[in-house]
Every structure is written in C-alpha cells, then in structure tokens.
C-alpha cells in the first residue's frame, strides 16, 4: 500500500574513508534534486576526541581543520606523534580498525589513544563511526528521513549503536547495506539490460577498495517481490569469511611518502590527499601512519595481489555477472601508472565492462548515496527495494532429553524483504515449561557475538501443570536487534499464562569461571544430560593429504583390478594410510575420512576411490582371499555409506566367513541401519563371553550413530548393559589392563542414549543402575589406590569413571573422557 502523504524529500548518505556524499531525492518524482558533497571546503572526515569531561566528540570535515590533532606544533593540542597519539581520529582509521578485526575474527578492536593534559583519552572505532554518521546525518538531513550506507559485515550491535546515536541527534535514520546501495544505483542505470539475461547471469559483483580492506560482495538480482512494484530486486546474502581481504592503502601511503616527515604525511592525509598512483611498488620499509601514531599493526598486502585476485575472479566467473560495481577510495588506483581495476575489467571481461561502474572517492560515495536515497524514498512509500537475509539466532532447547540449538530466524539463503519488519510466519510451537518451574530461562546465541546470553523471567505463579509455550520472532534486517516474545499457556486449560519479551541487549552474557563468554558448543556441553553426546571420528586434512599418493595409485591401477586384489602389500599400505590417526587433533579422534564418510578434500576423488573398492569387493566376495579381507577392512576405515555392503557384513557376521574379525571391525565402523545394529548387538551379546572385537565394534556403533538404539528393544538394551557390566567387573578384577575394560565402560555409558527413545531406561534408582554405580565407584577407589592400570595412560581415570556415574544419574556433562584415547 502506498502512503498518500509520504512525499517528503529524503536523503541518502554514504560516509567513506576520506570522503562522503549525500543525495536528496524528491519524494513525489523520485528525481535527484540536491546533493551535498565535500568540495574544496572539506577535509578528511575525522572525529575530535574530547579534552574536557562532558565535552562531546565532534565531527571535523571542514577546512581549515580544527587545530586539535592537525599536526601543528602549536598549540600543543595540535601535536601528532607516536608518544601522545593524536587528538583526532580519522574515519578512515575507524573503518580500517573494525574491518581488520572482522578479517582476523578478533573481537578486540584497538582503540584510538591521545595523551594530553596528563590524561589518556580514548575513542573506540565504532564510537567514532557512529558519531561521525550521526553528526553528518544531522548536518545533511536535518529533519528529513535519511538512509545511511553501512558495510555488508556491519554487526547488529554496531547497527544499533549507529541508530541510537542518530536518534539522539534527532536524525530519522534507516541503514542500508553498502553493496545494496551500489546495486540500486546500478539498477537505476542498467536495469534494461537484465531482461535479456538468463537467471544464472543475474548477479552483480560489488567491490569496495578501501584503505584497510578490500571487500567483494556478490548480489543476486531477482525478479520482483509480491510487495514491491520493482521489476528487479537486489538480494543480499550474509557475509562470508572470505569476502574481505586486506587492503593496501596505508602501505601505499607509507611507500609513496616515505621522504616526508610524519607530520607532513599526516597533514597531507588530513587535506584529503589520497594516493592515486604507485609507480614503484617497492616493499614497505617504514611504518604506516596508524603504526607510527597509534602502534596499530594493520594487515596489508602488496597492491599487485588485489589486482591479480580481481583478474582471476573475472576470468573464472565473469560469465555469472551482469555487471561489476567498484567503489571506495582506491577504486581508481593506478598501479605502475596504467593498470586500474577498470582496465582489468575492460581486458578480462569486456562483455560486462559496458554495464559496470568504477567510481572512486567522492564519485563512489555519490553513487552509493544515490542508491541509499532511492531506497529511502521507496521505503517511505512502503515499497520493498531489496531482499535481505537475517543473521543466525538460535534458542537453546531440550527435546526428548536431547539439548540443541533451534534456529529462530529464517534459513541461511532465504530472502526477506529488506528494510521491512520480518515476522516469522509460524511461531515456534512445541516448547514447554516443566511442571513445578518457577521461572523461565531463555538462552540465545547470536552469530555476531562470541558468547551466549540468557534472560530469566519469574512466573507469576508456580507452574502446577506443564506450560506450553510459543515463541514469536520478529526482526528488521540491518536495523538493529531482533525481538523475541514467548507466549505461555496452561497446557490443560489452554489459558494464557503470560508473555516474556526478550531484548538481546538486555540479556545477560553467560560467563565461565574465568569470566570469559561461553560459546554455543561449550554451553551445550555444560548442560547436565541423561545420556552422552555422540563422539564421531573426524576427518583430518593432513591424513587425507598423506594418503593421497596411495589413493591415486589405487585409482590408477583400478583397470587391472585382478592384479590389484592380489597385491596385498600395496593394499596393506593403503589400509595403513586410511587408518592412520592424526595425533595433532588430540583429544579428538581423526583419520583421513570421518565416521560420517566425509573427506576434507575433493569429494570426487573419494567417490572414485570408494567405487573402485566396492567394485573389487563385489567381484571377489564370492571367493574371499587375503586381499579381499584387506579391502573389507579399508572400506571399514572409510566408514563407507553403502547399505549393500552393510547388509553383506551383517549376513557374514554369523556365517562361516574366514575372517569374521574384519567383518565385525568393518561393521562397527560402517553400520548405520538401526535394524542391522539391533541384529548385531543381539547376536553379539547373546553369549556370556563377548570378545574384545565385538565390544569395540559395539562401542563404536553406539558412539558414532545417533539412531543406534532406536530399533533395539529395552530388553536387548538391558542385556547389553548387564553383559557389559559383567565384563567390566571381570576386567576390573584383573587390574583393567585390557581393551575390554575400556570398551565395556564405553558401552555402558553410550547405551544410555536409549533414554532418547525410552525415557525410563536405566533409571538411577533401578537395580541395574545401582549395581553399575557401585561397580564404577569401586573402580574409582581401586584407581585411587593404584590397583587399576588401564591401557591408554593419560586419561584421568577416576574422573572418567565418575562421569559415567553422573550420566547414569542423569547429571552428565561434556564429552566422554574414556572415549578420548580410543585405539
């Protein structure tokens, strides 16, 4: 619906590193009617640090610049050097600091320091940016609605800070992703070219070449949304880790002005003097401005690298792009006098060069401001201008005794209307508050924060009945925090019992005993549990690499498969390679291929390798020989996902196969079908005397496969539990010197996963569970008195045994220690 009265002129603003621009669009016609750009009267935008307590920060982008931190020797507040720092923080430095922190995945962003009047003044980069945006927005937009561009990786906390500062300055602000602003400006110019292109080519590459970083963002162009009158809409995906690479701006400045003094370089920089060309691309032998003044070590690369990277990307993927938008201070940077990004574009992607835009410095900011103004105008008319993806937000839940993180916002690739309020179409149902609870606790994890947070709300009365709960989630992409609302209702009477509203900012971070925030996975492991988490075998990149030569040799020799199966030496070396463990991943168990049949390298090679092995197995299964047995073992070590192979294994476990050990071994590693697993355990644990290989295979199945106990009857599980305890007791009497001691312990604890399907299994008060606890307590005593000497060594045995008791008591925490040194 279009609002009839919303015809105010609106502004779009883009604040770059050394320049900025604002464009005003008429609300009725949508035409650009005014622009505000830094001409000769403007200098590099900076924020003046306050001297007096209570003095606000001040944006300075006018010329002549304010004396503070200007580089003059008098008055003293103008001095800039490595000892006192500088009384002004350039916006370029703030953008660099925050994006470099993103680059290094480091949450600790350096602060800008200035020692003056005997006091150390500090300013965080994000405060610098928020204040600069708010003050510039206030100066430009006055009371008009204004859309301001933000980088694609601008975190929610940063967005909220900018919004808060703008609102405090009475600025009616909306935020817009910078690549989207570029895409909207591009669409304004080249929209007509899209109709002829197939869907696979409707992508736009946005490149932002700034002082500290270079950002590549891919924007999909999709056909119009139901709530938009636009024919084409840019769609933004969440930022990926490899979107951002180090830039070269600060290094180039240091190289090209190495003959100048620090204050001269600073003055040139403050005068808005960017570096346009670098004829001699020598190594940096001095310090960057940020290093000299603030001791900030910023990552940088040689200017050649981004040029090459851009060139390679164009060669590889230009067929996918409808155009390229290049903005930022270094968009027009020339290397050795002639190579610029636009020339590379012309040479390596001439087809898309015609529909591409290279706009450097102010021109780039004008382009982005124009895109922002288009968005602001359409937003005030309730027209969807672009599609967006929301950040990952997860709620900690317990389902059937299993703890997990439940995604609250939409899926990773699902687009929602940008700039509009998005509400989860269906509330999350099936949540419940336990009987007798006096409070509700919500624990939420956000991908942009390194710790989980909680909010606890007291119930008005104790929940006598189980309370059902619905969770409503809403968020506006790029406009700050998501809102959560939990509606509680009495399950029996369906009467509402209250609502809980959670605001991320007001949620309390959960800290460990050292005061550090706890991440999602650690929090999951900390929860008291009735059964242990799976402990799968991981895949190791180094092991995969080491085994490559043998695997390649095997693939090469596949055509002569008859000879191959008889070459037992080669097969043994191959077996050795795939079973080799990666000791560097201790305490995790890792081999070339994980227990989930995934490899860290090219999947095609693995598929080819396994197809060859299965081919050999099929050919020779009717006449097994030594080579065949090794092939079966290799397939086991690969945890190959083949029902045919699994069925053959289960069939031969009870048959007269010459090497039943290898069959059991492979079944333990490959079994996935819960019916087959139930058959295997039923056969193995039918006898009183269970072999070590049987125990090992059973323990592996139970710790690798989530549904291992699903098809088992409770009687069978109890039998497995009982027999394993018997083995454990026997081995304990022998000093625990055998592997059987370890495997039986593992089976006892992992068979508790049956509680997922039968919550009454092995209740802590049951006779069998009591017996198990007595046994393990005895083992702890023996261990402390030195009577137990299990194989393995470095595991803290009393702690590992106590952990088993805790799991039987439904108070278990963390990964099973006993499983760590599995052989």
């Amino acid at each position: 619906m279009i609002k009839a009265n919303s015809t105010k002129p609106v502004w779009g603003l883009s604040l770059g590193s050394t320049s900025w621009a604002a464009e005003c669009v008429d609300g009725n016609s949508g035409e650009l009617i005014r622009q505000s750009i830094p001409g000769s009267k403007y200098s590099t935008p900076s924020i003046l640090l306050p001297r007096l307590s209570g003095e606000p920060t001040r944006l300075d982008t006018w010329t002549p610049i304010h004396v503070r931190g200007s580089g003059t020797s008098w008055p003293l507040e103008g001095v800039v050097d490595g000892v006192v720092g500088s009384g002004r923080m350039p916006v370029a430095a703030a953008w660099t600091a925050r994006s470099q922190a993103f680059l290094s995945h480091d949450q600790s962003v350096p602060v800008w320091r200035w020692s003056f009047d005997g006091v150390s003044h500090e300013l965080r980069p994000i405060d610098c940016l928020a204040d600069a945006i708010a003050q510039l927005g206030s100066w430009v937009g006055k009371k008009s609605p204004i859309a301001i561009t933000i980088p694609n990786n601008f975190r929610q906390l940063e967005q909220q800070l900018v919004i808060d500062r703008c609102r405090a300055s009475d600025v009616d602000v909306t935020l817009l992703w910078r690549p989207i602003a570029g895409a909207l400006a591009w669409l304004d110019q080249f929209e007509s070219t899209l109709g002829k292109l197939p869907e696979s080519k409707r992508n736009l590459l946005d490149v932002h070449a700034d002082w500290g970083t270079i950002t590549f963002t891919e924007i999909r162009i999709v056909s119009g949304h139901e709530s938009s009158s636009r024919k084409w809409l840019p769609a933004r995906s969440r930022p990926q880790g490899n979107d951002v690479t180090p830039g070269f701006g600060w290094a180039v400045e240091a190289i090209s002005r190495k003959l100048l003094s620090l204050t001269q370089r600073w003055s040139r920089f403050m005068d808005g003097g960017g570096v346009d060309d670098l004829r001699s691309c020598s190594q940096l032998d001095g310090s960057t401005l940020l290093d000299s003044i603030q001791q900030w070590e910023t990552a940088f690369v040689s200017p050649i690298e981004p040029f090459n990277s851009f060139k390679e990307r164009l060669i590889r993927e230009s067929a996918r792009y409808a155009g390229v938008v290049i903005t930022g201070d270094f968009a027009g940077f020339a290397l050795d006098g002639n190579t610029t990004l636009s020339i590379i574009l012309d040479i390596f992607a001439p087809k898309i060069a015609r529909t591409s835009i290279v706009a450097s410095g102010i021109e780039g900011e004008k382009l982005l401001a124009k895109g922002a103004a288009i968005f602001a105008n359409e937003r005030q008319k309730d027209i969807v201008s672009y599609l967006d993806t929301l950040p990952e937000l997860d709620l900690f839940v317990e389902t059937s005794g299993q703890f997990d993180w439940l995604p609250l916002l939409s899926g990773k690739d699902r687009f929602v209307p940008g700039g509009q309020k998005w509400q989860r179409p269906d509330p999350i149902r099936g949540l419940a508050v336990r009987r007798g609870a006096t409070a509700v606790r919500l624990v939420v994890a956000h991908e942009e924060f390194n710790g989980v947070r909680e909010i606890a709300a007291m119930l008005s009365e104790t929940a006598e009945q189980r309370l059902s709960a619905e969770l409503h989630v809403s968020a506006i992409a790029a406009q700050g925090n998501a809102a959560l609302r939990l509606d509680l209702a009495d399950e029996s009477q369906s009467r509402p019992m209250g609502k809980i509203h959670a605001d991320w900012r007001r949620m309390k971070p959960i800290l460990d005993k050292n005061g550090q925030p706890i991440d999602k996975n650690s929090y999951l492991k900390m929860q008291p549990r009735a059964f242990p988490e799976l402990m799968p075998r991981k895949s190791s990149y180094s092991c995969w690499n080491r085994s490559q030569s043998q695997i390649s040799e095997f693939i090469r020799r596949l055509p002569a498969s008859n000879k191959l199966v008889s070459d037992t030496n080669f097969l043994r070396s191959l077996n050795q390679a795939v079973q080799q463990k990666d000791q560097t991943q201790y305490p995790n168990d890792a081999t070339a291929i994980g227990s989930d049949f995934h490899c860290p390298g090219t999947k095609r090679i693995l598929d080819e390798f396994v197809d060859g092995l299965l081919q050999l197995w099929r050919k020779n299964k009717s006449r097994p020989n030594d080579g065949f047995v090794i092939v079966v073992r290799i397939l086991g070590y690969l945890s190959v996902d083949s029902l045919e192979f699994e069925n053959w294994l289960i069939k031969n476990i009870c048959s007269s196969f010459p090497d039943r050990g290898s069959v059991k071994h492979s079944f333990g590693l490959c079994a996935r079908d819960s019916g087959n697993i139930a058959k295997f355990l039923s056969a193995v644990f039918a006898s009183r005397d269970v072999g070590t290989t049987d125990l090992k295979s059973a323990s592996q199945i139970l710790r690798y496969r989530a549904k291992a106990t699903e098809a088992m009857t409770s009687e069978l599980c109890e039998n497995v539990f009982r027999v394993s305890l018997r083995v454990f007791e026997r081995e304990m009497a022998n000093g625990g010197r055998s592997f059987a001691f370890r495997w039986s312990s593992l089976i006892v604890v992992y068979i508790l996963r049956r509680r997922m399907f039968d919550s009454g299994f092995a209740e802590p008060e049951d006779k069998l569970a009591q017996h198990a606890k007595v046994l393990f307590s005895t083992a702890i005593r023996h261990s402390k008195s030195g009577k137990l000497h299990p194989i393995g060594g470095s595991v803290d045995l009393p702690a590992a045994l106590q952990q088993v008791i805790d799991y039987i008591d439904k108070k278990g925490r963390g990964d099973i220690l006993m499983a760590v040194e599995n052989q």
Partner: protein, 411 residues
C-alpha cells in the same frame, strides 16, 4: 611593619570604589563574557557548548561578538534590567503580602486574658507569694504568660529586603549611566519602575521591622521551594555574585583589562588577516577558547586552550598571547609585560623576527570617564614607546584596526 604584612594590609584595603570608570568598563567586559557564556550557538557543523563551568567557544565567534557587541541604539542588557523584568510583579506581590510567622513572647497579661503558660511562666508563678492565682497576680492583676503575635522578621524577608536595597543601588547606577542617552527605552523605563518598587517596599511600614542581614545566609525551605521566594533567592544569588565579582574585578583590574585588550587586538588581527587573503583568519577562528563563568587567575579565559597564530600573509604569522603562555611556547623568551606579540617567519617555530611586549598602566580610579585612558608601553627591539588607549574599548571595537599594522608590523 614587615613587607608581607604591609602587602596584606594593602590588599585588604584595596576595596572596589562605589564609582569608578575602570570598574564600569570592566563590568561591561564581564557582561560581554556572561553573554558569551550564556549563549552557546547551536550549529551542527561547528559545535559550541558549555561543559561544567567552562564554555567552549570558537575564537571566530569571540572576535565577531567583540566587533558587534556595541549596539548604539539601545542600553546594555544588564543584570538589573533582567531582574526588573522578572521580579517587578513578584516583589509587588510579596511586598503587599509578605510571609509571616506566629511568634511567642512572654509578657505580663491580665489574669482575665491570659491563654497560655509555658514552664518559665509556671516557674515565675510559683515564685510569686500567695496561694491562688489572684493572690499571685498581686495588685496589678497581671501574671507572666505567653503571648502570640504575627511577625515578618523571617529569613526570607530579610533576604528580600537586602535584595531590594542592593537592586535600588544597582538600578540607580544603571540609570545614572544610561538614562540620559535612552530616556524612553523600555529597559530604562522598566528599571525606573523597578527602582520605585524597591524604594516603596524597603521603606514600607510592613517591612520596617525586618532585620538586616550581616552575612550570606544558607537558604531555608521557603527560599528553596516557595515559588515566589525562590525567584527572590535566585536573583539574590545573582546580585551577590555580581557584586562579589565587582570586588574581584577591581582586585584583578590589571590582568582583566589586559585580557580585554587582547581580545580587542585579536578582533583587529582577524580583520587584518582577512584583508591580507581570504581564508587567512579561518584557521585561527576555528580554535577553541575556553571561557569561564567566573574570574580565576585574574581572568575569564582559561589559557589551557590557546588559539593558533594569526596568518597575515604567506610568510609571516603573528601570535598574540599572554606573557605566561608565550613563555611556555618559546622557552628562550622572557617578554615581561602583560601580553606579547611575536612575529614569525614562514615555517619557523623557534625563529621569530619581532617581539613586542605590552605593559599596561591603568589610571587612578577617580578620573572621569571622558578623560580615562590607559597608558600602554610597547617594548620592541629595546625601545619603549608609550601610547594611550581609551578605556572603553568595547565601545570602540575598531580602535586597533588602523594602528595595528603601523605599530607592530611595519615599523
């Protein structure tokens, strides 16, 4: 008498005279500072604001205000004018209905009329001979009893009367200076009316029994929370502060006048720099000046924030600063005097071409306003030149414009 005791007694005796052209000028200057302090100019590009007791203003704003402070078509908006506009109705109201309290007083009362006895009265009664009250009352038929009566002699009324007396003096001074030139101006009329109100109630029978105040009192609940008396208290504080400042101005007259002279010269420097090239003055104009709301260290300006040099052309810059600031900047210079001019070559920080040390010699306070000038000695390259500068620089903001180049740059 030792030297120190003599100095101390001289300081004690250095009391501000009731009438002094120097004080009048300095009070005009302090009013200029007050206006500067009270009127931060909201501008989204160049911030100005007050931080605690300090106002941060740009040098450009200060020199602009200096040049345009004198508006010849109206009298100055002094404190008494503001008070006359604000307090006239309140004072009239209170004067007619001052706040009263019931006081108790013991006095001899006829036995037939006494109403209340307290312990003292009872003790007196016991001591009297006789058995019954009638016998104890004696032949006068009177006993000591508590009598209640209304009184206006309260702290709030004492403050009011003191304020009225002070406002009467302030109004008289203001009218003496400005009524002749602007007899029909609304501010003059308001002040005259307020003066009449003050006189009416100071001498009224209603407030005649209110005692005078001997020292600055602590405000009571009424002064802090009763709406009419609270306004009285706020006004009283302002008046006291102004009169205290008058004394401080007198004691620091040399340095305050030097500060005023400095701003006058900055104003002319700004004009000179602007004429030498557009934009030459802008760099200095953007510097912060910290203005305090009260006198400290003999001035209103906090020199912790100091303006940069005035750029006159592409080769020379001039710094006009107090002598103590100059000594901080150029360790080798000891200029003496009250303030100094330093002319520097382009690019040179420690190299300077000329140093002009300026010393002031204020006249006696009993000179008439028309005759009052300041003898200023300019010491340059060893030679000392004395010149006269008019006291009322605020009324002649362009005084240094023509003289500046000839005095300090060309000769």
């Amino acid at each position: 008498m030792s030297g120190m005791t003599q100095a101390a007694s001289t300081k004690v005796l250095d009391i501000a005279p009731d009438v002094s052209p120097i004080l009048d000028v300095l009070e005009d200057y302090s009013r200029f500072i007050d206006e500067l302090f009270d009127q931060p100019k909201p501008h989204s590009a160049f911030w100005e604001g007050n931080v605690g007791n300090t106002a941060i203003r740009s040098v450009g704003r200060v020199v602009y205000k200096w040049r345009h402070s004198l508006i010849e078509n109206q009298p100055p908006l002094a404190l008494i004018v503001r008070l006359s506009r604000k307090l006239s109705d309140i004072v009239s109201d209170i004067g007619q209905h001052p706040r009263k309290i019931l006081e108790r007083r013991r006095s001899m009362e006829p036995v037939s009329r006494f109403r209340e006895l307290d312990s003292t009265c009872v003790r007196w009664l016991i001591r009297q001979p006789g058995l019954s009250i009638v016998e104890k009352a004696g032949h006068r038929r009177q006993i000591l009893a508590v009598q209640r009566f209304e009184s206006v002699n309260t702290l709030e009324n004492r403050v009011l009367v003191d304020l009225l007396k002070r406002c009467r003096t302030l109004a008289a001074d203001y009218l003496r200076h400005h009524a002749g030139r602007f007899p029909n101006h609304v501010w003059i009329q308001a002040t005259q009316r307020f003066k009449r109100i003050c006189e009416q109630f100071v001498d009224s029978a209603e407030l005649a029994c209110v005692q005078s105040i001997t020292s600055l009192p602590q405000p009571n609940y009424v002064l802090l929370h009763e709406s009419r008396y609270h306004e009285v208290w706020l006004a009283y504080e302002q008046v006291i502060r102004q009169q205290t400042r008058r004394q401080q101005l007198w004691q620091s007259r040399q340095s305050v006048w030097a500060e005023m002279c400095l701003i006058a010269i900055w104003s002319s420097m700004s004009l000179l720099a602007r004429k030498s090239g557009s934009g030459n003055c802008r760099s200095t104009h953007r510097c912060d000046l910290w203005v305090r709301d009260k006198l400290e260290d003999g001035g209103f300006i906090d020199w912790s924030s100091c303006p940069t040099d005035w750029k006159l052309d592409s080769v020379s810059r001039v710094s006009v600063v107090p002598a103590k600031v100059l000594a901080n900047r150029f360790q080798t210079i000891r200029s003496g005097g009250d303030f100094s001019f330093v002319r520097m070559k382009a690019g040179g920080e420690e190299e300077f071409e000329d140093l002009v040390a300026v010393g002031l010699d204020l006249p006696d306070s009993n000179e008439t306003e028309q005759q009052a000038t300041v003898s200023v000695s300019f010491s340059k390259n060893g030679s000392v030149v004395s010149k006269d500068v008019p006291l009322d620089l605020l009324k002649r903001p362009d005084f240094f414009d023509d003289r500046l180049r000839g005095w300090f740059l060309d000769d």
